[in-house]
């Protein structure tokens, strides 16, 4: 009896175990079967992965309507506005060619990230004002379904520009223009300056202008990533590679005065892939040169500036690489939370960084002292000799500062008049420029992108008239210069 019972129970246990294992086994088997069936179906159906002798999935497409050279903040902004202003969804095929997707040397990520309206040219003020409203509503413009909203880390602390007695008149007329354009800027006398910011030494300061709104600094990386994310969701194609050659056709024409003119049109862009010799010719209708500090080289590739000097063919794009240092220092007795971005009469500037009494700053070197732009190494003597004396003179607390770190970044420096170049080239008719902003490219990028997209799609500037920024000013020798440059 007992044996029987034991046998029964063991039987039941066995059977139970058998059942459970069978159940587990069956699910395992089922998974395997499904994948097998899937594999079979895939091999039978057409349109599966082809065993091509040569895989081209990493190459850019063979055709694109617009090729943007340079995937920095300006290039991405142009791509964004092209896709946004297109009349029909997916009407334009945009390809962004970026040399380095880590943006190691790109000016965007290495910039201090300031935005200001205190310019002297009304066009620059308008560009900046539009950019400020873009950044303010960045989560409306760059919203992507299912992605978290962007946190731009905007510090609305304003810019404080100081002027000596010599510069006071210029500053006054600048502020008048800025107010006409709608910027909220106020003028401060040395007395008011001292009561507002007691840590400033007002010696040698005759007048100061202070931005109350829409001025400050933000995280450039966030803007770049936000644009990238949005642009990708809008269907813009990306490619990591380098533009090495333009294939163009030319037509010989005569102008009204009987001179012969050669008009060029870029047909193909050769994109060389990263770390290899392989390249892909991309047929395109429009090329946008947004290569920033390297845009001079891109223009040369397209044959701009190859003709005899003094002619339109021989006019080069005067955009060069310039190296600028940014230093980060700590100063326990330094100015407090209210510190704006202060630009001294000497050209040195600084701003607060975070809450722990850290400050960022630097100074633009003079033309003779330009450092070699071959690498991004920092010259620490430059701070000791050229920046610190000015800082300590302006803010006595900075006598005791301690430099924590430093980095260098590139300016896309326009040697002609330190202002941007926007719009088509008069002879290479389908190359459009968006470059040469000499340090304020980041803050104007959203507006510049829209202007370039407008001139590509509509043929003229619609919202902000940027005709003073056209390339032809280099040929005519008409400088469009800011009264003060930071």
């Amino acid at each position: 009896m007992l044996r029987k019972a034991l046998q029964l129970s063991s039987c039941r246990r066995l059977s139970a175990r058998g059942l459970s294992t069978r159940r587990g086994g069956s699910t395992l088997d089922w998974g395997g079967k499904v994948s097998e069936i899937k594999k079979k179906i895939r091999s039978v159906l057409p349109g599966g992965t082809w065993d091509l002798p040569y895989d081209t999935s990493h190459l850019p497409p063979e055709h694109a309507d617009v090729v943007i050279v340079g995937g920095g903040v300006i290039g991405l902004s142009v791509a964004y506005w092209l896709k946004r202003l297109e009349t029909q969804r997916g009407a334009i095929r945009v390809l962004v060619v970026e040399r380095d997707h880590t943006y190691r040397q790109a000016s965007t990520g290495l910039s201090v990230g300031g935005i200001r309206q205190q310019f002297s040219c009304p066009e620059n003020i308008r560009l900046s004002l539009f950019s400020a409203s873009f950044l303010r509503n960045i989560n409306d413009y760059l919203a992507v379904v299912d992605d978290p909203p962007l946190d731009l880390q905007f510090n609305p602390s304003g810019y404080l520009l100081l002027a000596s007695e010599k510069g006071a008149a210029v500053m006054e007329s600048n502020v008048k223009v800025q107010r006409q354009e709608g910027a909220k800027v106020c003028l401060l006398s040395p007395e008011q300056l001292r009561s507002k910011f007691p840590w400033i030494n007002t010696e040698g300061v005759a007048l100061a202008s202070y931005g109350l709104e829409n001025e400050g600094w933000f995280d450039p990386w966030c803007l770049l990533q936000g644009l990238r994310r949005k642009v990708q969701s809008m269907g813009v194609l990306f490619c990591q590679g380098e533009v090495t050659r333009f294939i163009s056709s030319s037509a010989h024409m005569e102008n009204a005065s009987g001179e012969e003119v050669t008009l060029k049109r870029i047909r193909e862009v050769h994109v060389k892939m990263d770390h290899s010799l392989e390249y892909q010719p991309v047929e395109c209708a429009v090329v946008i040169n947004a290569a920033g500090a390297w845009s001079g080289q891109i223009a040369e590739l397209a044959g701009i500036g190859n003709g005899p000097p003094g002619t339109l063919q021989g006019t080069k794009l005067p955009v060069e690489l310039r190296k600028r240092y940014v230093y980060l220092w700590h100063c326990p007795q330094g100015p407090g939370l209210e510190t704006p971005l202060v630009a001294d009469t000497s050209g040195a500037y600084f701003r607060r960084e975070g809450l722990g009494n850290s400050y960022l700053g630097g100074c633009s070197p003079t033309e003779e002292e330009e450092p070699d732009p071959g690498n991004l190494e920092v010259d620490h003597d430059f701070f000791q000799e050229k920046v610190w004396p000015h800082l300590a003179q302006r803010v006595p607390a900075f006598e005791t500062l301690k430099v924590r770190s430093a980095w260098a970044g590139y300016y896309d420096y326009n040697t002609f008049d330190q202002n941007g170049v926007v719009g088509p080239h008069p002879l290479v008719v389908n190359m459009y420029f968006a470059t040469g902003f000499s340090g304020h490219g980041l803050q104007q990028a959203p507006a510049v992108g829209r202007a370039v997209a407008e001139i590509v799609l509509e043929g003229s500037f619609q919202t902000i008239n940027l005709s003073p920024f056209l390339f032809s000013r280099f040929y005519f020798g008409e400088k469009f210069q800011e009264a003060t440059i930071i």
């Binding site: 919203a143 379904v145 602390s157 709104e213 607060r352």
Partner: protein, 237 residues
């Protein structure tokens, strides 16, 4: 006991998240969930069908548009009744409350209706505005800026008031004595830095701001910046 709850969590939030993905703008504060868990049916459909994707983009756009619509400027009222009435109207319209000088508080009732009796106070300046919990944003503040005699402003728990708005408030610096920003999810120490314009401020409430990284330190720095002002905030100073 732990296992069934976990499995419940896996199933239940899928639908909740789906709807929140369309509606919730302030997911910045929401914890980052598991990537696999966050994929929902709506997301799946959006990835595979352009129509669904376009529809979701449209809803997102519509949502932003609604906030803009609620904050449009009240220029026609301003031209007819003057800046005080226009400011008061825009606040009442959003569900806030206003107090004219020497008068009682005016509040909309539970349904959002309010009587238009205040139209007779055209020459009476507005003294205090309570916009707590309103959908006020940067452009909506434009309606409040002409209230030159405004002494108290409550902006508690306003979801759209951010650092840009604080820099926008500077025209009120000459009159404002009391400002409350408690519970605004998008205000950070970066925006608080530009409160140094408000040297007449006597009382400032910056408690419970989730975006401020160091509430204690921020409070000390704000107190240093505004020496005449009583700052309410995190209590470890």
């Amino acid at each position: 006991m732990a296992a069934p709850r976990a499995s419940l969590c896996l199933v239940a939030p899928v639908w909740n998240r789906g709807t929140r993905g369309v509606r919730g703008l302030n997911r910045m504060v929401a914890p980052q969930g598991n990537q696999r868990k966050r994929r929902t049916l709506v997301q799946f459909l959006a990835d595979h069908f352009y129509d669904v994707q376009a529809l979701r983009e449209y809803f997102l756009h519509k949502q932003a548009l609604k906030v803009h619509q609620e904050n449009r400027s009240v220029n026609s009222i301003k031209n007819r009744y003057g800046p005080y009435i226009a400011g008061a109207f825009s606040v009442l319209n959003q569900g806030g409350a206003v107090k004219f000088q020497g008068q009682e508080w005016i509040r909309p009732n539970g349904r959002g209706h309010f009587s238009l009796d205040f139209l007779k106070f055209q020459a009476v300046p507005v003294e205090a505005v309570d916009a707590s919990g309103c959908t006020l944003n940067y452009s909506g503040l434009d309606n409040l800026l002409p209230l030159k005699e405004l002494q108290s402003l409550w902006l508690q728990r306003c979801p759209h008031v951010d650092d840009w708005c604080l820099s926008h408030l500077h025209p009120l610096a000459d009159s404002l004595q009391e400002l409350s920003l408690a519970g605004c999810p998008r205000i950070s120490e970066r925006g608080l830095a530009c409160l140094h314009h408000f040297q007449k401020l006597r009382k400032l409430d910056i408690s419970d701001l989730p975006s401020v990284s160091n509430p204690g330190l921020t409070r000390i720095l704000v107190e240093e910046m505004l020496p005449n002002c009583e700052v309410l905030g995190a209590d470890w100073a």
